[in-house]
Symmetry: C3
Subunit: 435 residues, 3 copies
């Protein structure tokens, strides 16, 4: 009698466990019980059906998981669907040690951004990034991508023109507050189609793009267009050692106004003066831009550099023009971390401090841009030296301080708006949270 | 002795199962064990209390489920609360086969939108839809609705004026890239109150509305207002066969400037020319708009059409005016799907491909708008024929291609801005993801 | 033999339960089974390892819970991470009983807002609030805060200057549709750093702030700055009885234009006339603002008042100026609820109706602002009496009706733009959903 009670308990328990099981699919127990004659075929069928229904319901409704690595992500367990929300807030304060011109110290929200991205039907991905500024909103990424031919990925939308290591690197993960001076040559996001692919030690990306999103859609001239590509090679990319080289090329036909302008602030954002400034250059037939990049990392030490050039082909009666810029920087983590190389992107990502108090990084950069092509264009030449100190409080929060020594030449007068040879120093602080 | 061990195992297991049970509420096992004397009353009470506490905690904190049908949705299991995030990205490219006027080919993000909607306290629903454009943001839906008197629903906020089948149909689910020419007569969203209700074969919606949200709130003239309603009848709406007819009526008092203007692009968005254009019509006392709509669907085949008219009642010394437009289109799914009729909304929804490679739909549309009421107003007349080919890659991603033959009359000159009788062809492609 | 089968069932079940257990960490059963010799050491190790792996996986991936108290919140169970989405839609209609000037009745979306806030690494919190208006977007809160020294909290970002009870109170929870007239003196959000702390019966907040976010970052004058603080004392704050007093002080150096302007609409938003208006006051050296606040609550009855003054210190050759304002209001819940005092914030929060049909609150306010400092500045004086009736339909949805009697003096002419002594009445309705 006791055995009967025990057996019934066991059966009840068994049913119970089944009723509560969340993702079993394991029907072995039922098989054994049926085989041993402990349960009848009817009971077996009934239990089996219940188990399957439960499983099905779970799969459809509850089969999601949530994670918080770099933004909140809700993901279907079979990987067919996911949705991730992220964002960033970058708070800046800049102080200008003035020389010849008045420059306004100040504070600003450098970026406030909301991102969402995710997977649809396993092979498709979407991405939408919105940036909020002074009463304005900018659509940054707006991408639909197909990953079904992995490692080839195809995309359409509004995305970064593939060109230059520093440009492709998310601002969230830059070593300094602003990109280096030659970044002025790197194009911004445009609307178009693109593809990227990678092998064991290389990546390649190419894109064909139309207008900037911010262009006037009511302009009745046909749009200009751009073809761009970037190729990177990383023969070594272990945890401890990275060797990375790359090159970019870009060909652009401007739209019917045939104008282009290059100007840059001295690696700061709050002040408005752009010492180096070509003004509008007219009669552009086409542009060719080229870039070379290299990075080397060994444990906490890394060095990175780029050379970017821009060649402007103008109408017959105008001289062609050639501008260049380059930078090199080195960084060292006092706390032993390494910069986080993302091989498949050919760029650097989030640093994860190993100590409870965070990670400390020292950095030094030299950068220069030359917008003079005398005697035709004298946009000025600038040389900056930057000292950087980063405190990665945790993987999502960072305090960045930069001290910049700016050396302008005799043509660097913001197209005549300010006094030239203005050799200022800049101290700027950024406090950023991103996830 | 063995039995004692077994019983203790069973008890431990039982407790274990309870501790892990997620939403049982089933206390039968405990009852049986108590009745059989296997556990004492104290143990029973203790276990029972633990079970109830666990259940309570689960109900409050974890009683949510996540689903991904058309956007990510987080829903409380009792239906009292839900929150859904959705969005869309529509990427367009248009190519104009010019005739007499210059028209700028180009690309654009036609729409980038972020939506959130959900349920509060079972009977209340909210909806907020934001559209991002050139540095601007538009509030589309901003609605608070009460569903406690179902099938009657009452709402307040910024929402679509109930008028016309095509207008009420979400852009996400349109057969062609743009709505037909007579959609120029359909009013946009405004702020107001509304109600809708449905029976077995009919739906009705009415609304009383104030200004457009985009109106200047600092204008010291009292706002104009609009009363609008739409009634649909669908005697047959099985999976395979739909018969739908409907009518809309709208009465509008403009605000104190008493002006109105009708103009339309040729079912394209990137170019800026609006061939048919009345210019500003002054001294409007009130407007009356009326529409008739019909749709028939049989399996993969469907046909849909609308006739919309607008009557402008002007001051005594000015002639009253009358403008009209209509369209008819037919579509056929080569892959066997049907357009998805949402009876309660009196509109069409998301098409779900049955094949792995997606669904293919062919479509043909004729549309016309007549903005001439000679001799007073000669805004022009336009007739368009559109060939459409849709590839529904999956329920959320679609590639739309349209080829449009545009036939303008001698008055269609964008109020004198362009040459008339400009008979162009348009090829446009849209790639859209929406969820 | 039966016993062997039973034991094997129990073991299978046990394994089963383990496999399904979600957050046990309890290995006691395995220990007992090992000790009793029911399972071997190998089996024990194997099961133990499986159990630990499962637990680890659960902890990382699934250890989140969702709640819906005031917005959808996804929270890691250990409290180290959370993410909350909220928002609000405020729909307004205003009707003006005109006296001497034309005032435009109308409707508007008073606010549409999307908020996200959360916790990162236990001690850090972020907050981002976006407000959508006429094609514009405003960043309201953009805050990074450190709570590791609780009860001290330190923050940086764009946040409300700490000053005045009514100003610090979220608009969502105001008793009337708009803040009282003297709120014109309260500063808005700015970029800076701040700290707040609380004891058993007191709270203190201080901040040092730079420019408004909406200031032109390209202005080459150095920014102005503000130091502000607020201190509150609440010797009694039980559920039923609240005694609250507080004081605020603010010192501001304007930027180089040295101008300031005070003006206010009569506690309404849709019309554009600001009867009391000083126009631009020039040559401001610095400003000092001070406020006194008090609130008393006993069950459904409450009374609240503030006095705010502003002292403008001008250049030697200009007279210093002094403006003041104050309000007092009382409210009574016919349905027995109390206003919800949030002691740590020194402000009021969400009212939760106890009845199924919601809560009803009657309110009466007197407010006044005096922008005259004769003979130098005659900006006008206004006195308003407001009758309020609130229907809290549920904790998230509220209908607010206000009737305002406006009494303007002979100087209240919007800096000469309208006729003075315009004594109008205002009826306004707000329907709001917030979560």
């Amino acid at each position: 009698m006791k055995k009967v009670i025990l057996i019934s308990f066991v059966l009840i328990l068994m049913f119970f466990c089944y009723a509560n099981s969340e993702e079993t699919g394991d029907d072995q127990l039922l098989e054994i019980l049926l085989k041993n004659g402990t349960i009848t075929k009817d009971q077996y069928d009934n239990l089996k059906k219940k188990s399957e229904e439960k499983l099905k319901e779970d799969t459809e409704d509850f089969d999601f998981r949530i994670s918080s690595k770099g933004g909140i992500e809700i993901e279907k367990n079979d990987g067919s669907f996911s949705c991730k929300f992220g964002g960033r807030i970058l708070l800046d304060a800049s102080f200008y040690d003035e020389d010849k011109n008045a420059l306004g110290d100040g504070t600003e929200i450098r970026q406030a951004r909301f991102d969402t991205e995710g997977t649809l039907f396993t092979d498709w991905e979407y991405s939408l990034a919105l940036e909020f500024g002074n009463a304005e909103i900018d659509i940054k990424d707006a991408i639909i991508a197909y990953k079904g031919f992995a490692p080839l990925s195809i995309k359409a939308g509004h995305f970064k023109t593939p060109f230059s290591l520093e440009q492709m690197n998310s601002r969230k993960f830059l070593t300094f507050t602003e990109r280096a001076l030659p970044n002025e040559f790197a194009p911004d996001r445009k609307i178009g189609v693109g593809a990227n692919i990678y092998g064991d030690i290389w990546t390649a990306e190419a894109a064909f793009l139309g207008e900037f999103f911010s262009d006037d859609p009511d302009d009745e001239a046909d749009e200009g267009w751009t073809a761009a590509s970037r190729f990177t090679l990383s023969p070594i990319h272990s945890d401890n050692t990275i060797v990375h080289i790359g090159t970019s090329g870009l060909y652009q036909i401007p739209d019917d106004d045939k104008e282009v302008k290059f100007d840059a602030k001295p690696e700061t954002h709050i002040m408005s003066v752009k010492y180096v400034n070509t003004g509008k250059i007219k009669n552009i037939e086409n542009l060719f831009k080229y870039g070379f990049e290299a990075a080397f990392l060994y444990g906490p030490f890394s060095v990175q550099g780029e050379y970017i050039g821009c060649y402007l082909n103008r109408d017959d009666n105008e001289e062609d023009l050639d501008f260049t810029g380059w930078y090199i920087f080195s960084s060292y983590f006092l706390t032993g971390e390494s910069r986080n190389y993302k091989f498949k992107k050919g760029a650097f990502g989030r640093v994860k401090p190993v100590h409870k108090f965070g990670a400390i990084e020292l950095a030094l950069r030299y950068s220069t841009i030359d917008l003079n092509d005398e005697p035709n264009i004298t946009g000025g030449e600038e040389k900056n030296v930057t000292l950087g100190l980063n405190w990665y409080i945790n993987p999502n929060i960072r305090l960045i301080t930069n001290y910049i020594f700016v050396d302008n030449d005799k043509y660097a007068n913001d197209s005549g708006d300010v006094l030239e040879e203005d050799d200022i120093n800049i101290f700027q602080v950024r406090f950023q949270v991103e996830f």
